[in-house]
Symmetry: C2
Subunit: 536 residues, 2 copies
């Protein structure tokens, strides 16, 4: 039986502990002992959390919370194919949640416990991967070329939400590994300027278009597909030689004769968890090569296996989830800043925004009852050092406490560097990363009140040697699984998104008004606003 | 005498009113009368705020607050050159705040009241504008060309914080107006991959580099300048024929023989308010042409003039500031989402993040006393309709209330559009914009608790006909002045940024450790973390 956070035995302990959380500002608080105790690692990732406001008692209580809530058991149920996307007693999606299956395709990364019902999902994933591998080989050997026999150099992804944010974030993160002369472009917004601006200057004759919609009915995506197809038609280029499709089997878009290739995703993969499926696969494999995409999946699979550990100091996503719950529910912090010290991760926070907020921005539990506890935080962030010159002022000196996830890599991707004033850029980057983590924790005193830093800004430092495809896969799954664990702890369904429906219904009403020239109801606020704002 | 928010007579009234704020979810609440009453306009912008939780009594109290705080008087003092960047009795920057002077250069947009002490600043701005105009003409007529007589096609901006975010946001916003074959690229992060990735594939022989640092000593920028210069040297290209400089007169970078051209900014212009100065000027005029940059300034100037109105329903930035204070201090909302329904504004929220959070993320007042009232919100956001498919779930259905600024334009920039399912993309975009504003306000009920939308999410709708250079200037200054007004109301100094210092000091200590191979203090947390995390 799934319990609300407050109904776990550990809740009262945590509440008590939160009255006097560990004080990071005390002289000597950040000792060698503390840093060597409060660190964990999994695969290529290490997490240093001595700069969180926790002590051993807090960790014990968090372990108890995880055990009492059966967090790892719930994760196992999810990956083995139980129908966890549901609300008891109420109409809901009632689906399995099996995005983990699409990376459970490595014979050397097996785990006998967790295959369970997901055998079919794994098999389906393997079939799509084989199709993708073949697609890449056909591009490489020249059996897929344009109408005048030239190789394709560019790919435009048409998709929105999970069909855009994840692929975009990961492509930018791994662009260093892209094959020469293979570029990806993105059209997501129904704003016609997005498509017009993106197509501006592209050589369509050498461009593939990948259209992604699980349902095959996403209005923005269908509209943009039509917009782009119109351009191809006007240029005399055949759609079925240029357009690739990623959709659910049997969806309105599932019409292989219309497309050069068709790849499938499945109803048990939510959009925001789909970047390791063909949603990410087509653009990433086109750009980075199939092997790099496979390594990305390998990293994600490793982190899924790590997520089966019951000891929270060994299970990185679960530990991060619990620290997040501590900050959100016991220290009452409303947001989480994700601050990668890596320009390659410039859009990673935007992807996590969807992954986290669409999953856990909920207010009812899995029994349909309104919760009194806070759920998912507002996630935001930009790369450091840029953010330091932007919003860190507020984090350091305002009364609003913002927990931070710092992310850093010991080596750069390009390996091109030089010394200025005695240190390399990479050293400067890392110096800033470490300095911010420490500074937010310890704060600093002064006789000048304007130079006082209150400190006690909780943060974690997530580190790896280098941002490679495999490390990216680990980092992605670290966050995906952290978010799932938090949903389990909060007793919410992290896998539906009813909150997007009202806007759709109201927008459709307005579109009918555009078509009919008049509203169905003259007293509706949308109609009044249309009139008053002069848009009609 | 500057008063704290709580010391204004209106404070008690607002507190009382906040116990029962206007209920947007009541049947008929969003009436024609309400929408036509709660709207204001200035220049090309209109703001609809019937979807905020205010009624006439709230507005009266907010007007009283503005009057009592002398908000407009403080704005006048600022633009006429009073030293407002200060903390009484404590060491501070003690500077004028005159970013408004750089757009006070239009004979037809004069206002006899507000010139005052800023005559010198206006004159200096005019001189820089003349230099910029000449630079553009020299590029156009071919007197500035590369070493083999070809025109320059690309410009790389090297700068960080205010020298990056503003220029980048506005360039992307107005890219439609760029001259053919003039592209801008940005290097900001000290992450060496930022420079390496950006330079990858650029034809340096046709590339200008604009280096921007007011102090002439920003470490990230100097490092990246050296990185880029190294590439030019290796390519045998002379720095002083390719590099342009924007800096403070007399700064270490002020060495005209080193640069093709040198432009000045001034110590009375803060980085985050500098996009209308030469900081934005060089890249925007290179790309959009001088005339478009001038129109951008014209828009900003118009909004500055609007900001002199004492009636809050006529002063758009002041009205927005007061609604923000209402949401922050009386309805206790910690964040503000800026949601432009315009892909061109994809980085506008990132710019506002700096502008707002670095200005108002403070906890002491202008007398050096710690405040009990909340100050600046966390600002975040992404363009709609993209955000709808990402984080709107949380805004609609979680318990965390997120006030939203919706921004929209009645016409697209490119004018390329087509009908799909009976409506154009532009109509779909607008339908979604209006639907979200209404839906967040009214919410929606259901027997299924998972389909309940609580509503009462306060939001404003900021609209114009089209995102032109002049409208962009208005929108920018609308936010700049809104932020300044909020600082006046909160009685904080919005113009310094002491909160960035601690990180710098700690980072410099770490850099010394890198150079010396050992720390000055072995018990310092930064040294311990360096060792424990294996970065040294």
């Amino acid at each position: 039986m799934n319990k609300n956070l407050k109904d776990n035995a550990a809740h009262a302990k945590l509440l008590e502990l939160s009255k006097a959380p560990f004080d990071l500002t005390e002289e000597g608080a950040l000792s060698k002992q503390r840093f060597s105790k409060f660190r964990s690692s999994a695969g290529s990732l290490q997490m240093f959390y001595g700069t969180q406001r926790v002590d051993e008692n807090t960790l014990d209580a968090l372990q108890e919370l995880a055990d009492d809530a059966g967090a790892v058991g719930q994760f196992k149920a999810m990956i083995s194919g139980e129908v966890v996307n549901k609300i008891d007693g109420y109409d809901c999606e009632n689906r399995q949640v099996l995005h983990t299956a699409v990376r459970n395709v490595f014979a050397d990364l097996n785990d006998s416990d967790n295959i369970g019902n997901s055998v079919d999902a794994i098999k389906a994933a393997q079939e799509e991967l084989e199709k993708l591998d073949e697609f890449c080989k056909d591009l490489a050997c020249g059996s897929i070329v344009n109408t005048v026999g030239q190789p394709f150099t560019d790919m435009v992804l048409v998709g929105i939400g999970g069909s855009d944010l994840g692929p975009r974030a990961i492509y930018l993160a791994l662009k260093k590994y892209a094959q020469p002369q293979r570029r990806i472009h993105f059209i997501s917004n129904v704003d016609p300027d997005d498509a017009a601006g993106t197509l501006d200057g592209l050589d369509l004759s050498k461009t593939l278009v990948t259209v992604i919609s699980k349902s095959g009915g996403t209005l923005e995506t269908l509209t943009n597909e039509t917009f782009v197809a119109e351009r191809f038609k006007n240029a005399g280029l055949p759609i079925n030689k240029h357009f690739v499709c990623v959709t659910g089997e049997g969806s309105p878009m599932d019409n292989p004769s219309k497309y050069l290739r068709t790849f499938y995703m499945f109803d048990y993969i939510g959009g925001r968890y789909s970047v390791t499926s063909m949603v990410g696969g087509v653009v990433l494999a086109f750009s980075l090569g199939y092997k790099n995409f496979e390594n990305f999946l390998r990293g994600a699979r490793k982190m899924d296996l790590n997520s089966l550990e019951t000891d929270i100091t060994k299970n990185l996503p679960l530990l991060a989830a619990l620290l997040g719950v501590w900050n959100r529910n016991y220290l009452n912090c409303e947001t989480l800043a994700v601050l990668p010290y890596s320009q390659a991760l410039s859009r990673f926070a935007a992807h996590l925004q969807q992954c986290d907020m669409e999953s856990n921005g909920k207010r009812i539990n899995r029994q349909g009852e309104e919760l009194v506890e806070a759920t998912g935080p507002i996630v935001w962030g930009e790369p450091g050092t840029n953010g330091q010159h932007a919003f860190y002022q507020l984090i350091h000196q305002s009364e609003t406490v913002v927990p931070c996830d710092f992310i850093g890599f010991r080596q750069s991707q390009y390996g091109e560097d030089l010394k200025v004033k005695g240190t390399t850029s990479q050293e400067k980057l890392f110096a800033n990363l470490l300095a911010q983590s420490i500074g937010m924790a310890t704060g600093s005193d002064s006789d000048n009140p304007n130079k006082v830093f209150p400190g006690n800004r909780p943060n974690s430092l997530i580190m790896a040697d280098q941002l490679t495809p495999e490390v990216m896969g680990q980092l992605l799954a670290f966050y995906e699984n952290k978010i799932a664990f938090q949903g389990f702890l909060w007793n919410i369904n992290s896998f539906d998104q009813e909150g997007v429906q009202l806007g759709k219904v109201l927008a459709n009403g307005i579109l009918d008004t555009y078509i009919n020239g008049k509203p169905s109801d003259e007293s509706s606020p949308t109609w009044i606003l249309m009139k008053e704002s002069g848009v009609i």
